[in-house]
Structures are given as structure tokens and as C-alpha cells.
């Protein structure tokens, strides 16, 4: 195996870890609220701008970086929860599932254009939140942010798995995901559970945003849109609603994207990524780890 290939593979896993963190939020929201939150990608962008602003206030010091990430998590959580309360909750039980989808698109436009008004359309250059140079093993140089991204995604996965399976709130999420009506009858506060899910998903978007902008440091109001779509593809690839599935899907997607960008064509990389999604769904329509639910008459 050549050195180049290893480098590409590692940066693929790193990019995939970012997709995975976003996809975890996507998949949880989809599993529980049964909606495609098209604005999820824009929560990432909001997080990035918050980190950027706070870091600017502290002149890029280490305190500023930590504070930036924390404030971004809080702001994104608030944005997610408020969006859910104002824009999505009133549409629960609407006669068409498309209604909430279009509203999510409206929220996405709203966030993008608000950012455009506040920060302008010129790309902001983002300083990495990871002030570590990285390591070099036998000529193989791995950047600090790459390692941190992979480690963070693993921690997020483990914590989420523990949260969902070990806590009362997590169990409530599983119940709501399976059958909202029955969960309500069992005394589970469905509204509260959905709010918690949105809060977690949005907080994860903030973390993903900080890591993504550290690796690819050009920040515009549209920064989050494509990663958001890719993360959704990752969630579908892994089997939507499944937490380990989102992780696997994200990493598979990231590796394929980087490898095809390096070896085939940078212009066709996205086409190849989407091609893989189509092939997987045609072979296994519920994704890699998705459960097959038979339609009943």
C-alpha cells in the first residue's frame, strides 16, 4: 500500500467522521419526528459562524476556541429547539408529510439569508479550533484536526449509544421512534422527547461545523448545505434511524468521496458518491443496517 493511499484513506475517514456526526443528528430526528429536516445543514453553518465570531472576539486565543465551540453548541441547540417549536411542531399531524418538508426548506432559506445579511457573501477564512500540528509516523503526516475529528466522532457515537439505551429519555426516544401513539399511551411525553432529539441533533451539528470548518476553512452562508445533503445520504446509506448505521454510512461516504476525488476526477466525485448510494439502495432498499419492515394490508 502506497503512502499516498494511506493519506487519502485517513483524510477520507476524517471527512467521513464529520459526515457521521451530522448524519447522527439527521438520523435521530428522522427516526423520531419522521421528517427530513432540510435545515439541518444550515444549523452547521450557524455553528460555524458562532465559533468564528467568538474566536474573533478573543483574537484566536485558546480560551476563545473552547468558548467558541461551547457557545456554538448552546446557540445551535437553541436554534434547533426554537425552529422545532415554531415551524415544525404546528405541522405535526398535517394531512401531507410534504408540508413540514417545505417548511424545513423555508427555515433553510431563512437561516442562509439571515447569515448573508449579517456576515455578507464573501468567504470568511476560519482558523482551526484544534491548535495541534499533528503527528508524523514514518513520513506519514497526520494533521491534528484529522485525529481530533475521528476521536470526537467515536466519542459521540459511544455517548449517544449509551444515552439511547441506558437512560429514561433515550428509551423514550426508542419508543417514540417505534410508535408515537403507543408511546403516548404509555405516558411518554412525546413533545418533550422530540424537543430533546432536536436539541441533541443541533448540538451535534455545531460540533460537526467547528470540525468541518477547521479542516476546510472557507466559511460562507452556504457552507452547510452540501454537507447536510451528503450527511443525509450517509444516514440513508447506513439505514436511516440506526445510530451505528449513520456512523458506517458517513465513513463509507467520506472514504469514497476522497478516494474518487484523488484517483478518478474531482468533478465526478459527487456523482460517484451518489452512484454508490443508488446501488446500495437498489440492492438493499433499507440501507446497510436498516431493518426491513413489511408493509401490511
Amino acid at each position: 500500500m502506497s503512502m499516498n493511499f494511506l493519506t487519502y484513506l485517513i483524510s477520507g475517514i476524517s471527512l467521513g467522521s464529520i459526515y457521521a456526526i451530522i448524519a447522527l443528528g439527521y438520523t435521530m430526528v428522522y427516526g423520531i419526528a419522521k421528517m427530513l429536516n432540510f435545515a439541518h445543514g444550515d444549523f452547521i453553518m450557524v455553528g460555524c459562524y458562532v465559533v468564528f465570531t467568538i474566536m474573533g472576539m478573543f483574537n484566536g486565543s485558546a480560551v476563545g476556541k473552547i468558548a467558541g465551540v461551547f457557545v456554538a453548541i448552546i446557540v445551535c441547540t437553541l436554534v434547533g429547539v426554537i425552529t422545532e417549536k415554531i415551524a415544525y411542531k404546528p405541522l405535526r399531524g398535517a394531512s401531507s408529510p410534504l408540508a413540514v418538508l417545505i417548511t424545513a426548506i423555508g427555515v433553510s432559506y431563512l437561516l442562509e439569508n439571515a447569515a448573508l445579511l449579517i456576515f455578507g457573501s464573501d468567504p470568511k477564512s476560519f482558523t482551526s479550533v484544534v491548535p495541534w500540528e499533528g503527528v508524523a509516523v514514518k513520513g506519514l503526516k497526520i494533521q491534528g484536526v484529522t485525529i481530533v475529528t475521528i476521536v470526537v466522532s467515536v466519542i459521540v457515537l459511544v455517548v449517544l449509544q449509551l444515552f439511547v439505551h441506558k437512560t429514561r429519555e433515550g428509551q423514550a426516544m426508542l419508543c417514540v421512534a417505534q410508535d408515537k401513539g403507543a408511546a403516548m399511551l404509555m405516558g411518554i411525553n412525546v413533545n418533550k422527547t422530540i424537543t430533546i432529539t432536536f436539541a441533541i441533533g443541533s448540538a451535534l451539528a455545531a460540533i460537526a461545523g467547528a470540525l468541518q470548518c477547521s479542516a476546510y476553512p472557507a466559511l460562507t452562508p452556504y457552507t452547510g448545505a452540501m454537507p447536510g445533503i451528503k450527511a443525509f445520504v450517509a444516514a440513508v446509506l447506513g439505514g436511516i434511524g440506526s445510530i451505528p448505521g449513520a456512523m458506517i454510512g458517513g465513513i463509507v461516504l467520506g472514504v469514497i468521496e476522497i478516494l474518487s476525488r484523488s484517483y478518478i476526477s474531482s468533478q465526478l466525485a459527487d456523482a460517484i458518491v451518489f452512484g454508490v448510494l443508488i446501488i446500495v439502495l437498489l440492492v438493499k432498499p433499507t440501507g446497510i443496517l436498516g431493518k426491513n419492515i413489511q408493509e401490511k394490508v
Binding site: 428522522y30 427530513l36 432540510f38 415551524a87 404546528p90 405541522l91 405535526r92 399531524g93 398535517a94 394531512s95 401531507s96 410534504l98 408540508a99 418538508l101 417545505i102 417548511t103 426548506i105 423555508g106 427555515v107 432559506y109 431563512l110 439569508n113 439571515a114 448573508l116 445579511l117 448545505a225 445533503i229 443525509f232 445520504v233 440513508v236 436511516i240 476526477s265 468533478q267 465526478l268 459527487d270 456523482a271 451518489f274 452512484g275 448510494l277 443508488i278 439502495l281 437498489l282 432498499p285 433499507t286 408493509e295 394490508v297
Partner: protein, 358 residues
């Protein structure tokens, strides 16, 4: 007695539907007449004039997508891909035969060419895609749309006396004298004759309206709507689900292709960028369909026209216009769809009606 009542009720519903169909044609024709009069009297700015053709092709695309989303009941967010196919094939046709045919004949043939290729793509993509359901189907149509856009964006295509040259990675080298570049990678297709104007676009819109509205009333259309309402029940009474799904999807793609042909012929340089054919455009058209009313063809046209012109009408508010547009979109969705608002509205109606009766 009871049966007769039922029969007359059914007849009145049919009549109402017919009236609604005809009113759609009248609305489109009236809009055309009004804009033509305004243009003739110079009461419309040249900027506004430039928006008329796009307004119509978005309306056509919305009619096509409504056939897929509203009547077939399958969510597609890849229709911009079919627009892309229609636009590029027809524009290439126009460029190759620029000198051969007089302009109207050439545009008609280019239109047929674009529609045929879009339909072919719709058919080929429909076969695998329509096996999936719901949001999975949506994401796969999105994927196909993005693949079409990206591949055409990377494609270099030209011909000379030695034949056709195509490449996905580097510009093709052509014989200097006989060579003709068709698609120049990301630079796209240049020098297309601008054959599409407002009147032609309106004619195309009327034809696609005619096709979709008549399809809805036909036996095939009822079969398609039966599949939408209950797939398993439709299958159990002998409707060939796969056939009708692909049938509707193909027509829907063909209409999107027609919109693409108009798009390609209304600008002189056609590029396969995200701004032209990305998933954002598919979503934009979906917004028109949902706000106009899912399955309501007339609504799609009105929503497309109003929403396309809305940001332009808000131009006075300069940088705030897109922000206001997004807020209007959210508020309209909540107003139209939220169950609590709907209950409130119907209770208000009841009150008004009761007051009138008293």
C-alpha cells in the same frame, strides 16, 4: 331515488372538474394577453420582460412535477436533472442544425429532441427508482439529478470529420476545419440561437396542461390515482402498478424536459451548474407544487408565477427580500397546513355562514 341523487351529484362533480380545467386554460391565456398588452404599450421594464420566460418554464416544470408528486404520489427531488437533459440535448440539436432549418422548424424539432431524451431518462431512471418508497425514493431521485448535473458538467463533447469525440476528464481535440465543439465541459454550450420567447413558452405550457389534465380524467389517470391512494388495493384489482408508475414518471420527466428546452433556448450560454440544475432547483419547483396545492394543477401554475415574481416585486427591499421571501414561505405553509390553523379557519367559516343564515 337514492341512486339518482348519487348520479346527479357525480355528474355535478364531473361538470365542476371540467369547469375548473377550462378556467385553468383561461387563466393562462388571460395572463398571456395581459403581459403582451403591457409589453406592446411599453409598460413593463426590460428586466421584468426577461423574467417572463423563466416564470413560464418554472410553471411548466411545476405542472410536470405535480404529475409525479400530486397525482402519482411519489416525491421526486431530481426533476432539475430532467430539465438538464432536455436543455442540453435540445441545445446541441439547435447548434448542430443551426443552418439547416429555419428557426421555427428547428425549435420545434429541438423541442421534440429534448422531450424525447428527457422521457428516455425518466423511463430508464424510473425503472429502478420506483421500486423504492417514500423518502428513499426522494433521496434516490435527488442522487440521480445530481449525477446528471455533475456528469454533464464534466463532459467534453464535439465532432469532426473523424466522428464524435467525448471525454469526461480533458477537453477533446478536434480537427480545426471541420470540428465543432458541442459541450465544452464546465463552460457548457455557447452560441445557442435564442428561440424561446414568451408566446412560445405559453403555448408549451398550454400543451403540457392539456396533457396532464386529460390524463387525470382518463382511465389511465384514474389507475395512477388509485395507486397513489392505495397501492395494495390497486394491485389487487388488477392494476399493473409498475407500468403505471413508470408511465406517469416518464410523462412527468418529459414535461420537465420541455421546461428545460425553453430554459436552454432563452439564454445564449448554457452551463450545468448548481444554480441552473442543482437539487436546489428541484426543491424550488417542489415548493411551487406544494404551495399551489398537491395534485392541483391550476394551483401549481399560480404558485409558480406568484412565487417566481415575489422576490422581484420585493426588489425595493434590496437585501432583505430573500429573508422576507423565506418568512412568507414558512408563514404560508403554517397557515395552509397546520391542523390547528385549519380548525380555526373552518370554525371561523362556520360562524360567518351561521351569521348569514340568521
Amino acid at each position: 331515488m337514492k341512486d339518482e341523487n348519487k348520479k346527479s351529484k357525480m355528474l355535478s362533480i364531473v361538470k365542476e372538474k371540467k369547469a375548473s380545467d377550462i378556467s385553468t386554460y383561461i387563466i393562462v391565456a388571460t395572463a398571456w394577453a395581459v403581459f403582451e398588452i403591457l409589453i406592446a404599450n411599453g409598460m413593463i421594464s426590460s428586466h421584468m420582460k426577461g423574467l417572463l420566460v423563466p416564470m413560464v418554464y418554472y410553471a411548466i416544470a411545476a405542472v410536470g412535477l405535480n404529475l409525479c408528486v400530486g397525482i402519482l404520489g411519489e416525491l421526486s427531488i431530481g426533476h432539475a436533472g430532467f430539465m438538464c437533459v432536455g436543455a442540453f440535448t435540445s441545445v446541441m440539436f439547435s447548434n448542430i442544425f443551426a443552418e439547416t432549418f429555419p428557426a421555427p422548424v428547428r425549435f420545434f424539432l429541438a423541442m421534440m429532441c429534448g422531450i424525447a431524451f428527457a422521457a428516455l431518462f425518466g423511463f430508464l431512471i424510473g425503472i429502478p427508482v420506483l421500486r423504492l418508497n417514500g423518502d428513499y425514493l426522494a433521496i434516490v431521485t435527488l442522487a440521480f439529478g445530481e449525477i446528471i448535473k455533475n456528469v454533464i458538467n464534466a463532459l467534453y463533447l464535439g465532432y469532426d470529420k473523424e466522428g464524435v469525440h467525448a471525454s469526461l476528464s480533458a477537453p477533446v481535440v478536434l480537427d480545426a476545419e471541420t470540428g465543432k465543439m458541442l459541450i465544452n465541459g464546465p463552460l457548457g454550450v455557447t452560441g445557442t440561437p435564442r428561440d424561446a420567447n414568451f408566446s412560445v413558452s405559453i403555448v408549451v405550457l398550454l400543451i403540457s396542461l392539456f396533457i396532464v389534465q386529460n390524463l387525470m380524467k382518463s382511465r389511465d389517470g384514474r389507475a395512477i390515482m388509485a395507486i397513489r391512494d392505495n397501492r395494495i388495493a390497486a394491485e389487487s384489482i388488477g392494476i399493473n402498478v409498475t407500468k403505471f408508475k413508470i408511465y406517469a414518471f416518464t410523462i412527468s420527466a418529459a414535461i420537465a424536459g420541455a421546461a428545460g428546452v425553453l430554459f436552454g433556448h432563452s439564454i445564449s450560454t448554457l452551463q450545468s451548474t448548481s444554480g441552473n440544475f442543482g437539487y436546489n432547483i428541484s426543491i424550488l419547483i417542489l415548493v411551487y407544487v406544494v404551495l399551489g396545492g398537491i395534485g392541483n394543477i391550476k394551483g401549481s401554475i399560480i404558485a409558480a408565477a406568484v412565487l417566481y415574481l415575489l422576490p422581484e416585486l420585493l426588489r425595493g427591499l434590496s437585501s432583505y427580500r430573500m429573508l422576507i421571501y423565506s418568512i412568507v414561505l414558512i408563514v404560508m405553509m403554517l397557515f395552509n397546513w397546520a391542523p390547528s390553523v385549519r380548525d380555526f379557519r373552518s370554525s371561523m367559516w362556520m360562524k360567518i355562514r351561521r351569521r348569514k343564515e340568521n
